[in-house]
């Protein structure tokens, strides 16, 4: 059995209008039928643009959101064994509390140990993530962004979790600091046998940390595959477009022609059929009416007209 099983999960947020009656006028389809599994010891990367539902999915996986429908099964005690690291190292730490007490929070909530043993454990955790245990009594404002992210990681590790969901853990950090935190996460994985779900929009970081990668678009997974396979042989046109648009620090790379026009549509009323069809250079009539399923084994994609391995996605002029 997988460590975590996500089966046809949907999460809708109601949109309300009116002053007195607050009637529901629509729903944001943030996550709209996602199934995947996370195996023990692996790192599953999740990429996608803003609004694709990757953060909502993360919060469903950790139990922070109740799902609208579908099931999430975890092999163990979800509240203890699944923890989360957040994107914003400024917003996710209470500025009025001391670092030591922030890190001790999960221990207090789960009634672990005595005050003395908790203090000992917090010092241990601080050393583990590369913070000076003597800074136990400092406030978050006294730390830099990278150090705060280490505090967030220490807090997530307090209860010896098995699965850690990292939601954009390095995107608020400068490049030189990003690498420090990524290395730390990697080392902790080896040392503690952790399983990660690693959510980010930076494709190169995801490639580096992940064993498998899932690509999301408008609340759905459009492709999922072992990392190298996905990056080298993308089958879904959206994956290919995303990869070609990625920021690469290589001056000799031919600038790819922009293959996608327009923006991501609104998740309030997603397009019919395949959600990517209004922007897809390969779209045909079938894509407008029939929603493709996520099929395949190992490497799965949801597309009626996938790219053949090695095929390059051609842009289509508007109006064609």
């Amino acid at each position: 059995m997988s460590l975590l099983d996500v089966s046809d999960v949907r999460k809708y947020f109601p949109i309300k209008s009116g002053i007195f009656f607050r009637r529901e006028v629509g729903r944001v389809h943030a996550v709209d039928g996602v199934s995947l599994s996370v195996e023990a010891g692996e790192t599953l990367g999740v990429v996608g643009e803003s609004g694709c539902g990757k953060s909502t999915l993360a919060r469903c996986m950790t139990g922070l959101y109740d799902v609208t429908s579908g099931t999430i099964t975890f092999d163990g005690d979800m509240r203890r064994d699944v923890q989360m690291v957040f994107q914003d190292p400024y917003g996710s730490l209470n500025p009025r509390r001391r670092i030591g007490s922030i890190i001790a929070d999960p221990l207090v909530i789960h009634r672990e140990g005595t005050p003395a043993s908790r203090r000992e454990r917090v010092r241990e955790l601080m050393a583990l993530v590369g913070l000076n245990p003597e800074h136990y009594n400092r406030f978050p404002a006294e730390f830099s962004g990278g150090q705060r992210q280490r505090v967030g990681i220490a807090r997530a590790l307090a209860l010896n979790p098995r699965l850690v969901v990292c939601d954009e853990p390095v995107s608020a950090l400068d490049v030189s600091i990003q690498a420090q935190v990524v290395n730390l996460l990697k080392d902790l994985q080896t040392e503690l046998g952790l399983t990660y779900v690693f959510i980010a929009h930076d494709l190169s970081v995801v490639r580096y940390v992940s064993d498998r990668v899932a690509v999301m678009y408008l609340g759905k997974i459009v492709e999922i595959a072992p990392g190298e396979e996905l990056y080298e042989r993308p089958r879904h046109p959206y994956t290919a477009a995303l990869l070609s648009a990625a920021s690469v620090a290589d001056p000799d790379r031919q600038r790819e022609r922009v293959v996608l026009r327009g923006d991501v549509p609104s998740p309030i009323s997603p397009p019919t059929g395949c959600r990517f069809h209004p922007r897809c250079p390969k779209a045909q009539e079938r894509c407008v009416v029939e929603e493709p399923l996520l099929l395949g084994d190992g490497h799965k994609w949801a597309c009626h007209f996938p790219l053949e391995p090695g095929e390059r996605l051609q842009s289509r002029e508007p109006g064609q």
């Binding site: 150090q147 490049v175 290395n183 923006d263």
Partner: protein, 309 residues
């Protein structure tokens, strides 16, 4: 003569904790039609140095020289500077939502810029506004729409249309793609790439630099540490900081090589070379003496090791 020639620019803020020297001597030149990329991490002074030239940082002490087409911008009366800003130098900022007025239609905001600087009728100004929107790929009919009716990428196009409104000779783009998604980012970079006027792109993203800069200036702790052509910078990085930055990026599955430590406080920058506390190749001289720009004119860097080369 260069279009913009900046020499020994210094920007200082007075704070209760003492003087914060955000920019500590920056010199660079931008030729007509050329793209200069300014890259650095947060607090490196990359935005402040460019905004200060245009008088956009009230309360800062700005010293040094900045000649735009032969005219001195530093110390220029505010009214005169305003004539240059907008008309001859356009600006695109990171966050288009907070740079656009939410209660005026985008067409009106562009037309207004035209009316302020040119003697034209309202109708003519609106015609310019619609033309510019078309140029950035927004139908002219949408000129009457308000900023909230556009997506993030479209708003950034509006900002570019506005910056272009008066055919400026120079456009300054401060983190123009940072708030945008990958697929939209590529569209905006393509658009900026075909503007034709001189461009200063300020960014933390080495990918943007690799994509569009002709010349690059790398900044650290308020000073340039290396200047080079785009290809030279990536193929032959000389300053240890530039190397560290490039090495921090993932390459295959090799373990990442971060720069240890973190950027210094600008209230009390380290003595000597400001990078020395983090530098893996420092020599005894580094903490004592600050290196000037050394090495060849077309690829100088501020590192003492350059003397031994």
């Amino acid at each position: 003569m260069s279009l913009l020639e900046v020499a020994d620019l210094r920007v200082t803020f007075s704070t209760p904790d003492g003087d914060l020297r955000a920019v500590r001597g920056v010199s660079f030149a931008v030729e007509a039609g050329q793209t200069l990329g300014v890259v650095g991490e947060s607090g490196s002074g990359k935005s402040v140095s460019v905004q200060a030239l245009l008088g956009l940082i009230p309360g800062a002490r700005v010293e040094g020289s900045a000649l735009f087409d032969g005219e001195q911008l530093i110390g220029m009366p505010a009214e005169r500077l305003r004539r240059i800003r907008g008309a001859r130098i356009g600006m695109v900022f990171q966050d288009p939502l907070s740079s656009l007025h939410p209660m005026y239609s985008v067409g009106r905001q562009i037309a207004e810029a035209v009316l302020v600087h040119r003697r034209v009728s309202k109708d003519q100004a609106w015609t310019v506004a619609r033309e510019r929107l078309e140029q950035v790929g927004i139908p002219g009919a949408r000129a009457r729409d308000y900023p909230h009716q556009f997506s993030g990428g479209m708003r950034q196009r509006v900002m570019i249309a506005m910056a272009m409104a008066l055919d400026p000779e120079l456009i300054i783009a401060d983190e123009p793609t940072t708030a945008l998604d990958a697929t939209v980012r590529a569209q905006i970079l393509e658009l900026l790439g075909r503007l034709g006027c001189a461009l200063i792109v300020i960014t933390h993203d080495l990918g943007v630099i690799a994509d569009m800069a002709d010349e690059v200036m790398v900044m650290y702790a308020g000073k340039p540490v290396e200047k080079a052509g785009r290809r030279a910078l990536f193929h032959d990085p000389r300053h240890p900081y530039t190397r560290g930055l490039l090495n921090s990026l993932p390459q295959g599955k090799e373990r990442l090589k971060p720069i240890e430590g973190r950027p210094p406080s600008l209230l009390s920058p380290p003595t000597g070379c400001s990078f020395h506390p983090r530098c893996p190749v420092r020599i005894p001289r580094c903490p004592i003496e600050e290196p000037p720009m050394l090495g060849p004119d077309d690829h100088p860097d501020a590192c003492w090791l350059e003397e031994g080369r």
